[in-house]
């Protein structure tokens, strides 16, 4: 088995997610996603659907009952995939400090 470096492995997982943000994922990507998503401490990212099946805005909301929904300015998506990739980049930056493009 060819040995790959941790860094190359991470790049491969990011690329796997970028290519297919929704649906079936490899075990490595699943672990990465679970950690990034469930590791959000305060006001996790959510979406607000502004046009059914056509438009979503990024928002944040704590898990507390009745807590307010706060829109993140200027982040509007036209597909679920676009939203997932954007949030992935935000969570990656919060976790590692690195800006993905």
């Amino acid at each position: 088995m060819r040995k790959i470096s941790g860094e190359a492995f991470r790049r491969a997982l990011i690329e796997e997610f970028r290519r297919q943000p929704i649906g079936r994922h490899s075990p490595g990507l699943r672990l990465l996603l679970n950690n990034l998503r469930s590791g959000q401490k305060e006001d996790p990212y959510i979406l607000v659907c502004t046009k059914p099946h056509r438009e979503w805005r990024l928002a944040r909301k704590s898990v507390e009952r009745g807590s307010p929904v706060r829109l993140v300015p200027d982040l509007i998506f036209s597909s679920p995939e676009q939203a997932e990739w954007e949030v992935f980049k935000l969570l990656w930056k919060e976790s590692t400090g690195e800006c993905l493009t």
Binding site: I22, G23, R24, H25, P27, R30, L33, N34, R37, S38, G39, Q40, P44, Y45, I46, L47, V48, C49, T50, P52, H53, R54, W56, R57, A59, K61, S62, V63, E64, R65, G66, V69, L71, P80, E81, A83, E84, V87
Partner: protein, 760 residues
Amino acid sequence: MPDMTDGMPRKRLIGYADRMSVRPGERLRFMVSCDDLSAYHAQIVRLVSGDLHPQGLGFIEHPVETGITGTYAGRFQPLWAGSYAIVDGPAGPDQLGSFTVQAMIWPTSPGRRRQVILGRWSQATCRGFALALDENGTLSLELGDGASVSRVNTGVALLEREWAFVAASFDANSGRVRLHQEACASIGRAPAPILREETVPLRAVVAAGVPLLVAACAEVAEDHRATASDHFNGKIDSPRIVGQVLERHEMEALKAPVSGLPPSVLAAWDFSCEMTTDRIIDLSPWGRHGRLINLPARAMKGFNWTGEVLDWKLAPTQYGAIHFHDDDLYDAEWATDFELAVPDSLRSGVYAAKLTAEQEVEHIPFVVQPPRGQRTAEAVVLLPTASYMAYANERAGLGGGGRLHAFANHLIALGSGDLWLNDHPEVGGSLYDRHSDGSGVCYSSRLRPILNFRPGVTNAWIGAAGTAPWQFNADLALIAWLEAREIRYDVTTDEDLHDDGLELLKPYRAILTGSHPEYYSKEMYDALTAHLACGGRLMYLGGNGFYWRVAFHRELPGVIELRRAEDGIRDWVAEGGEYYHSFTGEYGGMWSRMGRRIHALAGIGMAAQGFDVSSYYRRRQESYDQRVSFIFAGVAEEIIGNFGTVGGGAAGLELDRYDLAEGSPPHALVLASSENHSDTYFPPPDEIHNATAMMDGRQNPNIRADMVFFETPSGGAVFSTGSISWIGSLTHDHCRNNVSRITENVLQRFIDPTPFGHPG
């Protein structure tokens, strides 16, 4: 399009009807609330499709002219949530002398705000008395004479979710108040008993006409409606009022259920009496019986529960506690805006009152059955309204956060209905939610606005970016397909099945279920199985059906109860000893635990769930058997349903599979099985007897939907698809697809009176 002034879609127009189902000639009332809208227009529409998916049919509705068409004045109608008991008969002397009040309590959120345990207290005039927990969670007695208020408290907060004896006595001669607060907590947690004495300068004066309330205090709303505030969260057991100062040992003697009480005992309620009703019974000579408002939970373990008896019917006195919640809501009791006289000409189908104002649109759906005793089609769609009630106003997306993002494998997306629910906890939750104190919601009513019982609505956390329909809107796709294929059908509902039993189904050859008929009462289950025993044909077009047992209240309309007992997928877990329904006394939980094997009814049973993407079926050799040649007529493909508007495939969300050991008929043919499910699909807990690292959909062969067919000995038959997303594939490519073809092939044969032969 709802209001978007702050960038978020806000609903300003909501309502509900007093029933989900009517027949021609009957009447249906609609209740509406407007938020800053002076008027709205109402019109009845026939609903056909609410599939707004880019590949879906779009929103299809047809106006129906009735007498209610017109413009109505808009008004705001509040929701008064919170349960309590009210005694509005002879509530006790207005001039209070010396007295004692006592109760056993199990507080679930002490310290967050004032919570009244028992009292005759007028917020408006500050008159009367109230035994309460104050803002710090300590026991207090409040006395008011209209000019001033005295409060005495113990200064020590009660323990959360631990029983405690609480009492207060007041000596009218000396003004002496004595408070008792005694925890019954287990060794190590129980603080020492607290006795607090203080003399107060005033004598309480009760305002005439103010009722005595348990678990809240009387309030008068802005519209002069009598309501309540300062609700108590938690259990109350054995509340007593005595017209004299009692010594501690005398209080102790009154704890247990008692009879032959002297007239000095002004009230001694035994909440274990008339358990299945909304009435409370007073054992004192005064007969100060009362009624419960907003359905607090009954058949709850009392302070004296021994753990030896698990069925409240066998030891009711150990179940003398009622669990009150500040967000219970049974009947919103809104004033009627308009009333529909259902025209005789209205054919059976799914309808709605469509309300419009400015940019607002609201639909309040209802079913029209055919006239009683008649059928207007060979097939009937049995809309699973018990399941609609179970999921009514489900709120998981509001509090799911990052863990739900990981669980669902996609972002949660809140729509206008979800945002409204977030702002309005007082509308009550679903049987998946928890109350504000963390306890599970075990009753759900349809006499309130139900924001997810709407055409066009998708679930916030199911399907990518919350794009999957769930329950009603998912089932509307079956109506759209029947209309598109010009197949005659009648429509009926679970509640009708519960009320009318076998007689309801008898006229029909074929019954079509919705996508997720998960919740069944005994009456519904009996009627369905009896129909099959009489030669009926069942098309089970969904997944995770017939799973949980529910009970309808026997006196109050429109409300069901669920005890999430023993096993199964449980968003909350019923406490041990609380597995029996209060409405009926029936054991609660999963039907499969009660000798009713779902596999024996439907051929398949719950196998897995996952909420990201759907998959497809692959035909199996048995699909070429001559017994089922009619099903696959015109279907050449090996792959079935690799398309659709619910996750992109006909096999998805929740899946059922064939299992001989669980009761699937040996002669049933497994026609096709789904495959290639994602790693977010897992078996339910009742399938997991020991965890392994090979449970998910990528590596577990038991995670699949099995399409099955079998004949019954009475000439009937069952066809089951075992997938919630099946119906979402029916109209793909204008119904030119193999899911549509298979479904129609089955339906046409099932309405053919020729009996099926049992293979023996």
